[in-house]
Symmetry: C2
Subunit: 543 residues, 2 copies
């Protein structure tokens, strides 16, 4: 007689063991390590909420402090490997296998640990891909999650940084895994501002020794925006946003897209584009978008996560941001990814390296940085069916195969700081992937998905090319004097045929590309634009 | 001074007006029409939970009974237009605009109403695309949703048919819309089996006059599976599942994929494939999968929705299905779509019409059927990065653009019942789309995304073709004597090169393709396999 409830029975045993360190669901903070020893078993698959932003760091620090004799060979699922102790787990022998989506802050160390055989990588995913596998072949046994407040029944208030928590909690709670949550405080049920995740999904809550760690990853100081960024922004607005009537979009986190955000109320206004472009966004609450919001450019923003300092501002702008009945932001990375893939017309983001076929990567030598969310946002989802002017403007194919196309725009300076070319013959990722033993090169965005490339030289309308040769020539025409740009041929013909546009073709007056075009020149200006509602983190408060 | 809380103020006013018909959140059933008049305003965007399966029919019937003098020009967002009253809303002048994803059961009437100018279609979407737009440019003012039980605070238990409810509730609750939920019963909080959606997201609950409507859309009676279906199933197992080591997958709802499910424990077993293929599924709880589950083939199934009659069975198999702490199934269409796109190796589904380029459609003349979820599942998402043997087996591209590929398999008989060819020169959808004024043809799956076509003749390995001519020739080679099949050329060369395989090439003994190969011959056999846990709906109980 086969058993069909092995997971449920294991969960019951684990919970019974954990209850010895807890008062029902509430864990004694000083006994957290005991609880982890009691609940987690060697070889378990454990999802740990390192998100893009918030970090269940009390849980990760405590897990790293467990006894490797009792707890070993864990298979960790960590969306973002962001903290030193995420890797200490492997150095200490507590964990051996890792599936992840992103490792930006730890990318050098993780590469070394893979080389040394200390970390065995299952695969490197995008965020939603890693969540998805938790509902398929990577079902976790235990989840270590993070919330802002909880009640004693485990009802959770996540605050603005809801992020990955709902998807991770659902994968584990509904497949008989054990869900353990650290929270900044435990309050009475009636003092929870709202419930983001129901208590019936949660097995244990513990008050952390300090508030969970959170990094302001989406704050760009306007002072660091240079004139080339502003020129690129002007070119993008005229050559892409205006030309294709881009009403809904997603921005990356570079200084060039921050420049676009900051010249909408100046340059965009002067072109009469308000209300005609950039109305609906899938975006974290970027502080650099405040002037555009305040100037009435923005109708809605659905967010993947929050951003430190933007709490009061987002709460005060509920027509624009998604907020709960309590008034504070709710984000949701899984849903924002759906919005970014299926509801918006354009993704525009920066890249560190682009090859002549427009393949791009943010990996440079000796790092294992992962993918995050860009590959999902930066591709043309063939499962979209609703039309919009921008999407139809790039329509292609014949007969029953005819369809619109998402705008996937790469924006970059031809040379990075220090004179390093962005456009290269071969991506470093190729070599890096080979040395890390990856079965395929770790490309961030595939060139054939890229519809436009914007540089300070102009726009390459790659989607218009009818041949690979034309495609490469169009890209080369905007690649400056980089190794790729030196291959430029027939540029005048490409301009005439509309495959390439230079500033003068777009009516962009390059003399205007100065910092005076920015609606805010520093973080202090953003605070002023927000009417004092934006509270920048200390590191940005140096005016 | 601009206002930033117009939606929140409007919501407060609507709720205050609605409270006159309710005791806090609990609406007097007999005053539901009054409540709808009080809460909804002319011109509102209203999302109505017509899902693929469950229907908020008390709410839709009540809305259709409202006074068109007081309530008119509504813009309805209905994932699945499944019920007569969904369209009565338009005939009565209560609603004028419609955004939808699917209209299968009402596809003829809706086409007529569009022709007559009674319904103005915004767009036809896929399910997740429609949810996504609710977080962008289609923010609803009111949601009319459906749950199995609620408490007086609005905490919801959805039961196994969670389906679309979490995504729809989140879009509305977190953008200051009003959320009204019909429930089969209101119980004390401690009697809710679990909480699927927290009460702080919900504004009003009303006990329906009868349990919500639910259709058994995913039940296929084995008696209706013919020998050609079984032959196709054998060909698919050897030529696709076994050849590419397909471990994770999603099935459509045809009799051919039901046949695959039913010969895994017989034919699949005889080939020694148990544990080597088809372990992890994104799938509704198909009754025809019971024998494979009971035989130990299936490790996990994450479900888009539930299926009537499968409640006790899914609850008794929690190692396989996703269930809550209460023991019952939880489904989630938005997340299952992520699983289907990013975690599984293959989609296989039937099609009514396929053209020579493998474009397909389920639209035939005079219908406006919509897209549902197939376009999302039936494409190759370029945002996937983790490798698997099946995905790598279809790897393509050069250098940094090299990547794996999802298997997108179309399975079809060359001729449908009545001698109608499946493979046609021109899809009916082209003409239908043109007459409905759609800007693009309503294709279900684009031919260039299709990697394999399986018919009773054999398998066309389209992904292997290096030219369009080879691709068409490979498809023609398995298209029998249809208009497309008559174009077959160079078939022997294609077989030799592996672009086409016939049963004899795959070691498929066509003599075995009889109904005796099915692990269950009727619904009664499925009940027996389930140990009496499967409770088929009455219409299927005629043995």
């Amino acid at each position: 007689m086969p058993r069909w409830d092995t997971r449920r029975r294991a969960k019951a045993e684990r919970i019974a063991a954990g209850r010895t360190c807890a008062d029902d669901k509430v864990v004694d903070r000083h006994r957290l390590v005991d609880l982890l020893h009691a609940v987690i078993r060697p070889g378990d698959r454990v999802v740990l909420e390192g998100d893009n932003q918030k970090q269940a760091d009390f849980l990760s620090r405590s897990l790293a402090g467990c006894d490797p004799i009792r707890l070993h060979d864990l298979h960790m699922l960590i969306p973002s490997v962001s903290r030193a102790e995420h890797l200490d787990l492997f150095d200490r022998g507590i964990a051996t296998a890792l599936d992840l989506a992103y490792a930006g802050p730890q990318s050098v160390r993780i590469a070394q640990m893979v080389d040394d055989g200390v970390v065995r990588i299952g695969a490197i995913h995008t965020y939603i891909e890693l969540y998805a596998r938790m509902f398929a072949d990577l079902a976790p046994d235990v989840a270590l999650l993070c919330a802002e407040r909880a009640d004693r029944d485990g009802n959770l208030y996540t605050g603005p940084n809801t992020e990955d928590t709902p998807a991770l909690a659902e994968a584990v709670a509904f497949h008989d895994g054990v869900v353990i949550v650290q929270t900044n405080e435990i309050v009475d049920a009636e003092k929870l501002p709202r419930v983001d995740i129901p208590g019936s999904w949660i097995d244990f809550v513990v008050t952390a020794d300090r508030p969970y760690a959170l990094e302001p990853l989406f704050t760009r100081d306007p002072r660091r925006i240079g004139e080339l960024d502003i020129l690129k922004a002007m070119i993008a607005i005229r050559g892409v946003y205006e030309r294709h009537q881009v009403m809904s979009l997603n921005h990356g986190v570079g200084y060039d897209t921050a420049a676009i955000e900051l010249i909408l109320p100046t340059y965009g206004e002067s072109l009469g584009l308000k209300g005609k472009i950039a109305r609906h966004w899938a975006l974290n609450p970027h502080p650099t978008l405040i002037p555009a919001i305040e100037s009435g450019w923005v109708a809605s923003i659905h967010s993947f996560g929050g951003e430190p300092g933007m709490e009061r501002y987002t709460a005060a702008r509920p027509d624009v941001f998604f907020t709960g009945a309590d008034g504070s932001l709710r984000s949701n990375r899984a849903l924002a990814q759906l919005v970014g893939q299926y509801a918006v017309d354009m993704f525009i983001g920066s890249s560190l390296q682009i090859d002549r076929d427009a393949n791009s990567s943010t990996v440079t030598d000796g790092r294992l940085a992962g993918f995050g969310g860009a590959p999902n946002l930066g591709h043309d989802p063939h499962g979209r069916r609703h039309p919009s002017p921008a999407w139809l403007d790039l329509a292609h194919g014949q007969g029953a195969g005819r369809r619109g196309r998402k705008l996937v725009v790469q924006i970059a300076k031809t040379f990075r700081t220090g004179g390093v070319p962005t456009f290269v013959e071969t991506l470093d990722a190729l070599d890096g992937g080979r040395r890390a033993g990856m079965p395929l090169p770790p490309g961030m965005i595939y060139g054939d998905d890229v519809s436009h490339v914007v540089t300070e030289e102009g726009v390459a309308y790659l989607y218009k090319a009818h041949s690979l040769a034309d495609r490469r020539a169009a890209l080369a025409a905007v690649a400056g004097v980089t190794p790729v740009g030196r291959l430029a041929r027939r540029t005048e013909a490409l301009r005439r045929d509309g495959l390439v546009a230079f500033p003068q073709d777009l009516g962009v007056d390059t003399r205007l590309a100065t910092r005076s075009l920015l609606a805010a020149h520093g973080i202090d200006d953003l605070v002023a634009w927000s009417g004092g509602l934006y509270d920048p983190p200390p590191r940005f408060r140096d005016w």
